[in-house]
């Protein structure tokens, strides 16, 4: 694929074609038909790719478009590398699955998709605030929230161990089929439970590394204290009292975490859960899915539920991918048509079913599907996973900082590093905050 210079005329032509798309379904014609290539994320859950593949092929068949599909794994950062390579080469797939921060990162290379999003929001409900923060850059949607891979990384607990060691009946706090009764589920209660489970030899397996699971959990707890290291205006606010409060809380919590928490990657917590060595991890249902296959007795005692509330609110870590269209794509109208087809409620429901409830659509009207109520055992374990009662504020670490700073806070795991320095290494608070401020100054270079 060759690079295409974006001229005023080209933009006008694309805009005209996009307007036509909003007004009417994609019509196969000399301009719109042809080839289209798409790079989807290769799903963790076995068989989950089938739904998105089937929906894409059905669309291609109907519209007579020569569609080629690649499933690209995120193992070893292959998807991130693919995006970086295609961005540099200005060549590759027409549509690519992008990570949460990528619409901002590639903002000058992605085609705005407001024309697709407006009708989708009308039909499926508003996109969550965090999805808007990640996908709407400079007031324009630069990607369509992709259902496969969108996940809530809230607590995934052992019913029996929490009951036995911490005296918490998690199913009573988060009953299947009903709204949460979790006012008592606060960060203080979380801390007490962590202490009790640690004493019993099944500590909460929460990591403090620099990969997504660790960073997301740390970010959610920071936000629960109202602690932001950089505010929405891009000002460094790391030396605030709220950040200090969050660090003090972490210092207490770290005492109950496994000693190798700073080295955790996104699989370490899953392994601990499946091995039966922990009472709680912060994870989507992938650990439960593996336990269902390999350790059914552990799976039967698993419950997914909401995050504990802090002084500033109840924040739950959420990440969502996006499907974006490169501006060097030669068939943008067809790309938009495909993304519209993939974002219809029935297509999304099929994807959620195929992922056994792992995927969470970004749209408000699509978080109460049957699949979450029916999946098991135990039946209802996923009922509260998609946050059906908006019981918690979905969030991502480093928000609300401006994206180009936030992505670095996130990727470097700045907040987890602060916790490790203060709570494990025992560095004085002022030194930790000074170090973080210095790092943040570096992230702000242009």
């Amino acid at each position: 694929m060759t690079a295409r210079k974006v001229t005023r005329r080209f933009v006008a032509k694309t805009a005209a074609a996009s307007s036509a798309l909003v007004a009417a379904p994609f019509v196969r014609g000399a301009f719109a038909a042809g080839k289209l290539s798409i790079g989807f994320w290769d799903h963790w859950v076995p068989g989950a790719n089938k739904a998105v593949e089937a929906a894409s092929k059905a669309w291609a068949e109907k519209e007579k478009v020569d569609l080629s599909i690649d499933f690209i794994t995120s193992q070893g950062n292959k998807l991130i590398i693919t995006a970086a390579a295609e961005s540099q080469a200005k060549s590759g797939h027409d549509i690519l699955a992008f990570g949460s921060w990528d619409p901002a990162r590639y903002s000058d290379q992605l085609v705005p998709v407001d024309d697709i999003m407006a009708p989708l929001i009308k039909a499926n409900g508003e996109a969550s605030a965090i999805t808007q923060y990640l996908g709407k850059i400079g007031g324009k949607w630069l990607g369509v929230p992709g259902t496969p891979g969108a996940q809530f990384k809230g607590p995934c607990s052992r019913i029996d161990l929490l009951k036995e060691h911490a005296g918490i009946d998690i199913q009573a706090l988060y009953p299947a089929g009903g709204p949460p009764k979790a006012d008592s589920w606060t960060l203080d209660a979380f801390l007490k439970a962590a202490g009790a489970c640690h004493k019993a030899g099944v500590p909460f397996a929460i990591g403090l590394g620099t990969t997504a699971d660790s960073v997301d959990t740390c970010g959610a707890i920071f936000q629960s204290f109202g602690a932001a290291v950089v505010n929405a205006k891009g000002e460094i606010t790391v030396k605030s009292d709220k950040v200090k409060q969050a660090l003090e809380y972490w210092k207490q919590l770290v005492a109950f975490l496994p000693p190798d928490a700073p080295s955790y990657d996104d699989a370490t917590n899953n392994r601990a859960f499946v091995a039966g060595k922990t009472a709680l991890i912060m994870n989507p249902p992938s650990a439960w899915a593996v336990a269902r296959r390999d350790q059914p007795k552990i799976a039967e005692q698993t419950w997914h539920h909401g995050m504990a509330a802090g002084p500033a609110g109840r924040y739950g870590p959420f990440t969502t991918p996006f499907w974006g269209i490169w501006n060097f794509s030669k068939n943008q109208p067809a790309a938009k048509s495909l993304l519209t087809a993939l974002s219809q409620a029935p297509a999304i429901e099929e994807m959620v079913k195929a992922s056994a409830g792992y995927d969470i659509p970004a749209f408000a009207n699509l978080t109460t599907m049957k699949v979450w109520a029916e999946e098991g055992p135990p039946k209802g374990t996923l009922y509260h996973y998609p946050n059906p009662f908006n019981h918690q504020i979905l969030s991502i670490a480093a928000a609300p900082a401006p994206h180009k700073i936030a992505v670095q806070i996130y990727r470097h795991g700045l907040e987890t590093q602060m916790v490790v320095r203060y709570a494990i290494r025992g560095e004085p608070m002022d030194r930790v905050l000074g170090w973080a401020a210095s790092e943040l100054e570096g992230y702000m270079r242009t």
Binding site: G76, N77, I80, I81, A84, Q88, W101, R105, L208, G209, T210, T211, P258, P259, D260, A261, P262, S263, Y264, D265, T268, R271, A272, A275, K277, K404, V407, Q408, R411, H412, Q417, V420, R421, R425, W435, S438, E439, G442, R445, T446
Partner: protein, 309 residues
């Protein structure tokens, strides 16, 4: 007149032909043509990417402006960068020293094994080097894993541990160096073994007759005879170890607290993961002049010794 002109023209074209023939018959021309595919390959796969990396390292973060050496200037002002420099040196130097020492000892042991058995041992000892590093490192990751660590399982009955192998800076650094030594020592062993084979047996016999001890034979015969191989192997391994990526990437990803990052993994974190490609390129290029100077000195020394011989 016209006839003369024709003859002059024919003569000059014949001259040209013979000139071309002469050129083609020259050894240097043939040598150049034969090496041309390699030159093209090196240019495409080495020179062009290196030049492009240099170009990238001189762009601003948004890659819209040429900023010359400002990225390097910025790096030099960052504590984390100097920590990565120190760690890379610690990792490369300690790993190369251990690989050289283990390779030297094992090469001597294997050299003393007779005939057929030696072939078997040679083959077995090469296994760590032959397995793709990313794959063997994954096995090591499982050995160090907190839930399934075989090492902790073995140490538990002795009342030791559990040790946070990858969770504490000292242990994590030890682990990445250990895995690098495990993978790289067989290369040293095989190179030293080849060098040992070329040491004339008569020298040892003569030394033995003169009453030289085992240690004296190694110190005064083997070491001087192996000096060039030791230097080249150490140089080659140092360059590769400085540029290592897969071991750290698989085992620790630079954690905890960036204390196991090397140049390559830090460049990846900055350039690919965090979206600052120019800064990532600057990190990856930092060692080039230092290694180039080191390589020149070592190679010059080897040439000097070669001409002395």
């Amino acid at each position: 007149m016209a006839d003369t002109a024709l003859r002059v023209s024919a003569a000059s074209s014949a001259d040209k032909r013979s000139g071309l023939q002469k050129l083609m018959q020259r050894k240097s021309t043939i040598a150049f043509l034969m090496t041309l595919p390699l030159i093209v390959l090196i240019f495409t796969l080495v020179a062009y990417p290196a030049g492009y990396a240099l170009y990238l390292a001189m762009l601003n973060k948004a890659m819209t402006k040429f900023v010359w050496f400002k990225n390097f200037d910025f790096l030099f002002s960052r504590d984390t960068f100097w920590m990565v420099v120190w760690q890379s040196c610690l990792f490369a130097i300690s790993a190369v020293v251990f690989k050289a020492f283990i390779g030297f000892v094992v090469a001597h042991l294997v050299n003393n094994i007779p005939g057929k058995k030696q072939r078997k041992w040679r083959g077995m000892l090469l296994v760590p080097w032959v397995i793709p590093a990313a794959m063997s490192t994954l096995s090591w990751l499982w050995l160090f894993d907190s839930s399934y660590s075989a090492f902790n399982w073995l140490l538990e009955p002795l009342g030791i541990g559990p040790i946070p192998w990858l969770g504490e800076t000292g242990w994590a650094r030890f682990c990445v160096i250990l895995v690098n030594v495990w993978i790289g020592a067989p290369f040293f062993m095989i190179m030293y073994l080849a060098a040992l084979k070329s040491v004339p047996e008569q020298l040892h016999e003569a030394a033995e007759i003169d009453g030289a001890s085992w240690w004296q034979r190694i110190w005064y015969i083997n070491l001087p005879m192996m000096r060039n191989i030791i230097a080249i192997t150490a140089l080659f391994s140092t360059i590769l170890t400085f540029a290592n990526f897969d071991i750290v990437r698989v085992l620790t990803r630079g954690d905890p607290l960036n204390t196991t990052h090397l140049f390559a993994t830090w460049a990846f974190r900055l350039g690919i993961e965090s979206g600052d490609i120019p800064l990532g390129a600057a990190v990856s290029l930092f060692m080039v002049p230092i290694l180039a100077v080191g390589a020149t000195i070592i190679l010059r020394d080897i040439n000097k010794r070669g001409s002395e011989v």
